[in-house]
């Protein structure tokens, strides 16, 4: 008599297993196949092409009725199994039981549902089966608003499919970039760009708070308050193994149903495979290893010895036009090296991670043709030391002599395009060199090569070097070791190429490192917030400690707290609040600064938010004594009190400080306003100084009193206080827009020249007002108190330690 085999779940894994079993021994078992879905086996992977309309359901059926009939399978489709009786070896659905000699559990996995309000509303779907796919097709065809929660593989295939059908799609992703488990930030950025090109909106770092709606889903609300309309919400945040039956039957279950190398569970008559299992602590989410499991289980069922050994799998996204490839381990690590290739013009990014001369990780975007070649070498553990130099260029470049960059340039035909923006060929550059252009500037002047976007600068230099007989040209010093672009280039390109995030800059400008360094990240953060005040969100993690913590770190790791005193003017109440704070937090030193305010030194980090809250309550805000931004406006008492004063210098100082506080500048910015030429506020050694006279106001800029002492130079004189303010705001904005990060105002002035500044802000009235307006736009975002934002009940705990193991040990 044939043995009875019962299979629970007609999915990808069990389907392959049955094929193998029937091929090897058609008569060994009489098979009963239960499936929760009301149909047999189809290719689940291909649901995405069905969703996008590139295939139909009929195209993706893998086993039809004839196949089941030919193999004598008793099909119990649409009949979920509800119980396994291990003692009597019978499984039950709600319609009846089936006895077994051997049982295979292949229940796959269940989508994870995030526990938010509204998750059970009609219109909220997951992405797992044909029913989900149809719901999404319907929403797309009707041109509705759809929100996909989760920017991983499944979520993006769902989003692209619905968008292809005509839905207006937004993807909400919790992490900083899409598909963070498979991609690094650079590749994630390119992917996001491609998706945005097809009209899909992507919201990263978005945490879903609730799904809104009365009778059905209407919108999705995020923690940050953003609301996206949604007729349909697709949750694709992850899956977990479907282990309920195995749990109820008291099989050994960890995260998945535990199986040994032969795919046997803790009960010798019961086997499991597919996404529901856990093998040597590992779970599975892609089909390649499941097919290996199917082979092994078919043998085990036929009493042949077989062992499942998981292999690494590669990931591809099935969205037409978004080519990505990811395999292995691409985290950085000790002894690991990266080979990075970026072609910003074509949106290509390739990264190989090497360890001990072997490839251990591959991430590619935009051009993935060589993916399998790399992947093959990765699996084989091929030693690549011989082809290291040219490895990243793929198999086509291997063999023959080693390529050095100069040889690669030499090999280019004369008509090869070097500068894409201006259509300049290698031949044109060679001719220009022959005609005498031997610096980059001359080349730009006579051919325009590299004069627009500038991303081809390196290549142009190589061609020039080649033309000049291999003499390598001195490249202008890059911003830091991560890039050859200068600060000036980077600023210009951020603007002309509309780059709006740090990963965008790093990708499009061909950064040589993966995450930048402590030197370029703060600079990029500043350039971006100065260029896109409304769109760019300040990245605290790219800031130096003082600006991140809004206090000055001292040599012993404590901080100093300096509240703002507008124009150096204070009140008895403010002084009392400062004194109280000093007492309450045991401040070891209270000092008057040179900027006319009071410094509380030696404050512990975890006390900062509490002290700030106390000072806020007394009406004080951060003095930004730590910022590359507006510090102080030092004033003298002026004509209100002084017997020789000519104007209200204190009042003007306060007005300026109230307009300018919170603004970020390339370096620190200090102002001074003196009420007469006796200059008690020392205004002529500040970045911007005003000296009042009987006839009005003398504005001068570019002073310093640090390691360099400099006197300010005269910028403008005016009888009007209002015009004084406008000129000061305009010159500040000009400095913000043009200054190199960490150049003090005097240094910037020495580069661009005082005359140029005068022309921009004094003579050209229209330009002056435009600068003032741009300053005001930026200030609409930044004229806020960081202390208040960072001392809320939600933020306060983050200033203390994450855990205190000294307490636990004492217990």
């Amino acid at each position: 008599m044939k043995k009875k085999l019962v299979v629970i779940g007609a999915g990808m894994a069990s389907g392959r297993m049955l094929e193998q079993l029937f091929d090897a021994a058609p008569d060994a078992y009489e098979v009963t196949l239960f499936n929760g879905e009301p149909r047999g086996n189809y290719n689940r992977l291909m649901l995405s092409p069905v969703l996008s309309g590139e295939k139909t359901y009929e195209d993706i059926v893998t086993h039809d009725d004839d196949w089941y009939a030919a193999n004598g399978v008793d099909c119990r489709f649409g009949e979920p199994v509800v119980k396994i009786d291990r003692k009597n070896r019978i499984v039950y659905s709600n319609k009846g039981g089936a006895p077994y000699d051997a049982l295979v559990i292949a229940t796959g996995s269940a989508p994870f549902i995030i526990p938010v309000v509204g998750k059970e509303l009609p219109g909220v779907v997951t992405y797992r089966d044909l029913e989900d796919t149809h719901a999404m097709i319907d929403a797309g065809v009707a041109g509705k608003d759809a929100v996909v929660i989760g920017g991983g593989l499944l979520g993006l295939e769902a989003a692209a499919g619905m968008a292809a059908r005509g839905a207006k799609v937004t993807v909400i992703h919790l992490m900083g970039h899409l598909m963070e488990r498979q991609l690094d930030p650079a590749a994630g950025y390119l992917l996001q760009k491609d998706l945005e090109k097809r009209g899909i909106k992507v919201h990263c770092k978005g945490a879903t708070k609730a799904i809104l709606g009365t009778d059905r889903a209407e919108a999705v609300l995020l923690e940050d308050g953003t609301v996206y309309p949604a007729d349909l919400v697709c949750m694709a945040v992850g899956i977990r193994p479907e282990t309920r039956l195995a749990n109820d039957a008291h099989l050994e279950v960890e995260r998945g149903i535990v199986v040994d190398d032969a795919m046997r569970t803790s009960d010798p008559h019961i086997f499991a495979l597919g996404e529901c299992v856990e093998h040597r602590k590992q779970l599975f989410g892609l089909v390649a290893p499941l097919y290996d499991q199917a082979k092994v289980l078919a043998k085990t069922l036929l009493d042949e010895a077989a062992e499942f050994v998981p292999v690494q799998t590669a990931t591809k996204l099935k969205v037409t036009g978004c080519d990505l490839f990811s395999a292995g381990d691409f985290a950085e690590g000790e002894g690991r090296e990266d080979i990075v290739f970026r072609d910003p013009g074509r949106g290509i990014y390739k990264r190989l991670v090497l360890q001990d001369d072997r490839i251990i990780g591959v991430v590619m975007y935009g051009e993935t043709g060589d993916g399998n070649w790399f992947y093959g070498m990765m699996k084989e553990g091929t030693d690549i030391s011989e082809m290291r130099e040219t490895l990243i260029f793929g198999p086509a470049f291997q063999g023959g002599s080693k390529l050095d960059p100069m040889a690669a340039v030499a090999a280019l035909p004369p008509e090869a395009e070097i500068c894409g923006c201006n259509g300049v060929s290698k031949g044109t550059i060679m001719a220009a060199v022959a005609g005498g252009a031997c610096t980059l500037d001359q080349m730009r002047a006579c051919t325009k090569a590299s004069a627009s976007c500038g991303t081809c600068t390196g290549l142009v230099q190589q061609v020039m070097a080649f033309a000049m007989g291999g003499e390598v040209q001195e490249a202008p010093a890059g911003m830091c070791k991560c890039t050859d672009h200068t600060h000036e280039d980077v600023r210009r390109l951020i603007k002309t190429m509309a780059l709006k995030s740090i990963p965008a800059v790093m990708q499009e400008l061909g950064w040589k490192t993966v995450g930048g360094c402590h030197s370029c990240r703060p600079a990029l953060n500043y350039y971006l917030l100065a260029e896109y005040p409304l769109e760019y969100k300040d990245d605290r993690q790219s800031r130096f400690v003082n600006e991140r913590n809004h206090a000055n770190i001292q040599k012993d790791g404590t901080y100093s707290v300096v509240p703002r005193m507008w124009g150096g003017v204070t009140t008895p109440d403010e002084l009392r609040a400062i004194a109280d704070a000093a007492d309450k937090y045991n401040v070891p030193m209270v000092k008057v600064t040179g900027g006319q305010r009071i410094d509380l030194l030696g404050v512990k980090k975890e006390d900062l938010p509490h002290m700030w809250a106390d000072l806020n309550a007394a009406g004080m805000v951060s003095g930004a004594a730590y910022s590359k931004g507006l510090r102080t406006v030092k004033t003298c008492v002026g004509k209100e009190f002084c017997r020789v004063g000519t104007q209200d210098s204190t009042g003007l100082g306060i007005k300026l400080e109230k307009l300018m506080w919170g603004s970020w500048t390339p370096h620190k910015l200090k102002l001074g306003v003196s009420g007469c030429p006796r200059n008690c506020a020392e205004a002529t050694c500040k970045d911007i100084g005003v000296v009042c006279v009987d006839s009005g106001y003398n504005i001068s800029i570019g002073g310093a009193a640090g390691m360099e002492v400099k006197e300010t130079e005269h910028l403008a004189s005016t009888p009007s206080e209002e015009e004084t303010i406008q000129i000061i705001l305009a010159v500040t904005q000009l400095y913000r827009e043009n200054g190199k990060y960490l150049d003090r105002l005097w240094k910037w002035m020495s580069k661009v020249g005082l005359d140029w500044i005068k022309a921009q802000v004094v003579d050209d009235l229209e330009n002056r007002m435009a600068l003032v307006e741009r300053f005001e736009i930026s200030q609409s975002v930044y004229r806020t108190d960081p202390w208040a934002e960072l001392s809320t009940p939600a933020e306060t705990p983050k200033w203390g330690p994450l855990a205190d193991l000294t307490l636990e040990a004492a217990e």
Binding site: E332, G333, R540, Q541, V545
Partner: protein, 110 residues
């Protein structure tokens, strides 16, 4: 064998940032990279004692906030021309929780 204790959720530490854990052996900085790996280093720069937890994190490196020494967080070794070593401790992430070596609950061996 190392045993581990739970010190908090991965999400409690900002990406490209750090938090401090007080231990019987002094403060330990727990770092999280942009690709969600974690590292535990003694929170004291070998140069002049700067708190590494306040440094800028780039890739798997951290730059000391006081004088810009750069450390490889895998080994704790100073990079480039600077010479020095910070202690590292076993740490890992499991199910979104950060686990650190339980040796830190014990007093320093005399």
């Amino acid at each position: 064998m190392t045993t581990f204790v739970d010190i908090g959720a991965l999400s409690d530490v900002p990406q490209q940032g750090a938090r401090v854990v007080k231990t019987m052996q002094g403060c330990v900085a727990v770092f999280r990279t942009s690709d969600d790996r974690v590292f535990a280093l003694e929170d004291r720069c070998p140069h002049k004692g700067g708190p590494l937890s306040e440094g800028i994190v780039h890739g798997d490196r951290v730059t000391c906030p006081l004088h810009n020494w750069v450390f490889d967080m895998n080994s704790g070794e100073a990079q480039g021309a600077d010479e020095g070593m910070v202690r590292t401790y076993p740490i890992r992430v499991e199910n979104g929780r950060i686990l650190i070596s339980a040796e830190l609950m014990a007093r320093k061996a005399a």
